[in-house]
Amino acid sequence: MREGKSHETGGVTALTISFTLNGGPTSLDIDPAERLLDTLRYRLGLTGTKEGCGEGECGACTVYLDGLPVDACLVPTYQVRGCRVETVEALDPGQLEPFVAHGATQCGACTPGVVMTALWISAHPELLETHTIRELMAGNLCRCTGYDGIVESVAATLPASRGAPA
């Protein structure tokens, strides 16, 4: 448990909230206007989640909220009360090997967000009955790879029975 103390920011009293972060209970005081992205990065030191645009366009700050990928820059932290939040830090690096082999990362700034979405797709392969990998990955902007390495990596992480409709 993290101990927070009450404080004031801009005349607004802080809220105390509790949620589950990467499997462990977390409690802290937050400014009601604080973004989950900033809470994670600057309050909790989880800098794997990146800011790319701050307006939900690029997906670099993708985290799981109760198991669904969301842009942490668009989520006010108070909204995660009682929720499960998972960040890139919770992943097992061992499962990321295909992404290196296929060249899914170059500069790395979009990469944690890409990985979060990619692994969510591979955990929900039924999505590929109605969508292509390219459609499902379209919420994560990458400026380096041209996307082929990413799309191939997602295909490589799918259960073996699934094809790889790129």
């Binding site: 830090e89 992404f99 082999a101 060249g103 500069c107 990458c142 790879t145 996307y147 390495g149 799309v151």
Partner: protein
């Protein structure tokens, strides 16, 4: 100016906090040596080698797993205890005198660190090619967002509020906002005509050849600005360590930043230390601009006496930093009736923006590539960069060549249409053969079969078959049109002309006490693969495994100046230096160039046991070194712009297939083939990724990325309305390499990074022309622009 500003000597409240020590990790000093990506925790540092491919050439990206797992520490990820957040206040107007700076009273200014031009210890100049650009405007502004005042506070929100509470008042003067128009007298602000730089190439007698040519084809082509959209925005941190100013951040050229800091802060070079942090994309956007933001961060840190962090958010980054130069290129081409080039008369005009920055060298590369990879005996290329009151345009992947090659390659298709020739045949006839010369008179003699590169691309794209299939489809279909377009092009690697000689780059390979080696250079990783290719080059040269090669963090206190990470020069030029430095290291331990592997490791260990007390960082320690030498047979005449412009050119052919929806005028790229000869391919996965990423960036520039300007500043400075390609917008990019090792490049490599952005725009626009019968001459070819061409009065019609 600056009435009522709280910049008296009275100590501000934030300065009263007890002294602090910057909390930045000094991981670069840890006993394992300056290993890759100093920010990783040790556990992860070994991960990149977990899955070990069979050969060094198939080595995985060295820092790949750290990046994937979110453990790579970029500048904004570094903990910096007691730091203030810096913010920039820019000009609201494109030109004028600063009449007042008002600090609104709704902010408690005693809490805010404030800096303006009067705080500069040295000359108010960002030193680059010229010295015309101030660090902070001194009473006069030349573009919107020109930095005027800096503020800092421990709270990011407070710093932001303070920045918004500063009002810069300008007495406006008439700005020059369209580089294509001759400036009025009251718009002249540079020289007598607003020309920032003029350059000319002449070969043969163009006027005579044009007068005699059976056919003359003319055309004017335009390209728009392009924003880099590196996903990591620009940022720096700065603090004092004793009397040494330390600046860390996202950058391509640590020694550019070092020079700029030493100059404007009037500090001895030894009291300035610049360290590159893992850089989340650059594409040229982090070539020159980081000097500005480093100076701003340093000024705030010096003023406040505390560490300062200055990170641009996306909107500020897009509005205030450089973009690709907009261009207008005119061609007048003389030909035989069967399409042989007789004369090329080319005029290149670039928009430079409000300061010189790198524009002269962008123009230089632009004009050298303007005539394309073709043989022509009579060429005249007249280039100029115009001053305008716009945010300065700057380095962007390709550096002038994509603009002039768009014009050249679109013009080739216009010529083909005029003469009734197949665009592929027109290129086949004119592609430069060994023994022939470029526009600067450089004799090409590299053994590459450029026609074979083209044929390979045509074969992979099924060019002939698809053209027939498309013709049938277009006749049958009411609202869809399909077409193929191609571009053949080249890209000179390394600095132009005498540039590499001027740089005199140095690289080192150190032998460590445990027998491993450490590559020391100022060249940085920004996604393009420097850490991996340098590891491969050193490992192959010395017969070591990749684990035995460390790459030093680019830190001006510990690495030599191997030049900037630009111009597709890193693997080719610096990679070659690393090979020679490795040879030198081997010689210093008494081995010849055939010694490899365990013998080398053992000799390094033995040297250290015979020289106890000389650790890896000691000045007298074991160090192999190499300094750049011009490859034999290269000569460049800077005055006449004649000779060997580059040590080597990479060659390529792109074929794009598009489908245009005539109802929406939306263009989709449905297939893309990129074939290139880049010397030896060192790492297929990395090289393929460079090409695919460059092509997709080119697709964006061709079809969707439109910078909208008001008063010379970008107004769609958001990713919601500046549209870059998503995974859904692009097809798989099919890549093939033709290999022809270059003897003077690292492991035989030629430059690769920029080449792939030269071809997509002309290939795609040629494909749209082939599909629709419209005649587009400008990019981005947005649906709006294509609609006007197809339905409007701009000369196009639906086939």
């Amino acid at each position: 100016m600056n009435p009522g500003a709280p910049r008296s000597t009275k100590q501000n409240r934030f300065l009263k906090t007890p002294g602090h020590r910057p909390g930045v990790s000094r991981a670069w000093m840890n006993p394992r040596g300056a290993a890759v990506g100093s920010g990783h925790d040790r556990r992860l540092r070994d991960l990149p080698f977990a899955g070990r491919p069979a050969t060094i050439g198939a080595m995985h990206r060295r820092e790949g797993l750290a990046k994937l797992a979110g453990r790579e520490r970029y500048v904004d990820d570094l903990p910096l205890e007691g730091a203030l957040w810096g913010m920039t206040v820019g000009s609201p107007a494109p030109r004028g005198r600063v009449t007042a700076i008002r600090f609104r009273p709704d902010v408690d200014w005693s809490e805010i660190a404030v800096v303006d031009h009067r705080d500069l210890p040295g000359p108010n100049e960002i030193i680059l090619i010229e010295r015309d650009q101030p660090v902070l405007a001194a009473g006069y502004v030349r573009h919107v967002h020109e930095p005027v005042v800096l503020v800092a506070h421990a709270s990011r929100d407070m710093a932001r509020r303070a920045a918004r509470a500063v009002e810069v008042q300008i007495d406006p003067e008439p700005p020059a906002l369209d580089f294509r128009l001759r400036p009025r007298p009251d718009q002249i602000q540079y020289g007598t005509d607003n020309v920032l730089k003029r350059l000319k190439i002449e070969k043969g007698d163009v006027e005579r050849a044009l007068a005699r040519a059976p056919v003359v084809v003319e055309g004017t082509y335009e390209t728009g600005a392009q924003e880099h959209v590196y996903i990591e925005t620009q940022g720096m941190i700065a603090w004092l360590e004793g009397d040494v100013l330390v600046v860390k951040g996202s950058m391509q050229c640590p020694y550019y930043v070092h020079r700029a800091l030493a100059h404007a802060l009037a500090r001895d070079e030894r009291r300035v230390r610049v360290v590159q942090t893992p850089t989340g994309g650059g594409f040229g956007g982090k070539e020159e601009y980081p000097s500005t933001i480093a100076l701003h961060t340093a000024l705030l840190a010096l003023k406040a006496g505390r560490p300062v962090k200055l990170i641009y958010d996306r909107a500020e980054d897009m509005a205030a930093t450089t973009k690709r130069h907009p261009s207008q290129v005119r061609h007048r081409t003389g030909l035989t009736r069967d399409g042989r080039l007789l004369a090329q008369d080319i005029e290149v005009v670039l928009d430079g923006g409000a300061y010189v920055t790198l524009s002269p060298v962008v123009l230089s590369r632009g004009i050298i590539h303007a005539a394309g990879p073709y043989s022509c005996e009579n060429v005249r290329i007249d280039g100029r960069v115009m001053f305008s009151n716009a945010v300065p345009f700057g380095a962007f992947r390709g550096f002038g060549a994509p603009q002039t090659l768009f014009a050249c390659e679109r013009h080739m298709d216009v010529i083909a249409a005029t003469l009734g020739l197949d665009p592929a045949e027109l290129r086949r006839v004119n592609l430069i053969r060994d023994g022939q010369t470029t526009a600067t008179g450089q004799v090409i003699n590299d053994g590459t079969d450029r026609v074979a590169v083209l044929e390979r691309a045509l074969a992979l794209a099924e060019y002939a078959d698809k053209r027939r299939v498309h013709a049938a489809f277009n006749t049958a279909h009411a609202t869809k049109r399909r077409g193929l377009g191609l571009a053949t092009f080249f890209h000179g690697a390394g600095f132009t002309g005498g540039g590499e000689m001027h740089l005199k780059s140095r690289a080192q390979v150190a032998g460590l006490p445990d027998g491993r080696v450490e590559v020391r250079s100022a060249n940085i990783e920004m996604g393009q693969g420097t850490l991996t290719t340098f590891t491969q080059i050193a490992a192959l040269r010395l017969g070591l495994s990749p684990e035995d090669v460390l790459i030093a963090e680019p830190d001006t206190a510990t690495v030599p100046n191997s030049g900037p990470t630009v111009a597709s020069r890193t693997t080719m030029v610096v990679g070659r230096l690393i090979e020679r430095a490795a040879d030198d290291l081997r010689n210093r331990v008494g081995l010849d160039d055939r010694a490899r592997g365990a013998v080398v490791r053992e000799a390094i260990r033995r040297w250290h046991s015979e020289h106890p007390g000389l650790g890896a960082q000691h000045a007298a320690s074991l160090l192999g070194e190499a300094v750049y030498e011009r490859p034999p047979g290269i000569a460049w005449d800077e005055e006449r712009y004649q000779g060997d412009a580059y040590g080597a050119f990479a060659w390529a052919a792109h074929v794009a297939e598009v489908e245009v929806d005539l109802r929406t005028c939306e263009t989709r790229v449905t297939d893309f083939v990129a074939v290139q000869e880049v010397g030896k391919v060192l790492n297929e996965t990395l090289a393929r990724g460079q090409v695919q990423g460059g092509v997709v960036q080119g697709i964006g520039w061709a079809l969707m990325e439109e910078c909208r300007f008001a008063d010379g500043a970008m107004i769609n400075n958001q990713l919601t309305n500046y549209i870059i390609p998503t995974s859904h917008d692009v097809p798989p990019i099919r890549v093939a390499f033709v290999e022809n090792p270059y003897p003077h490049g690292g492991q035989g490599a030629k430059g690769l990074g920029e080449l792939p952005i030269d071809g997509p725009a002309p290939a795609i626009v040629n494909a749209v022309a082939a599909a629709t019968g419209a005649d587009p001459r400008a990019i981005p070819l947005t649906p709006e622009r294509l609609l006007r061409l197809i339905e409007g009065n701009e000369g196009g019609k639906v086939a």
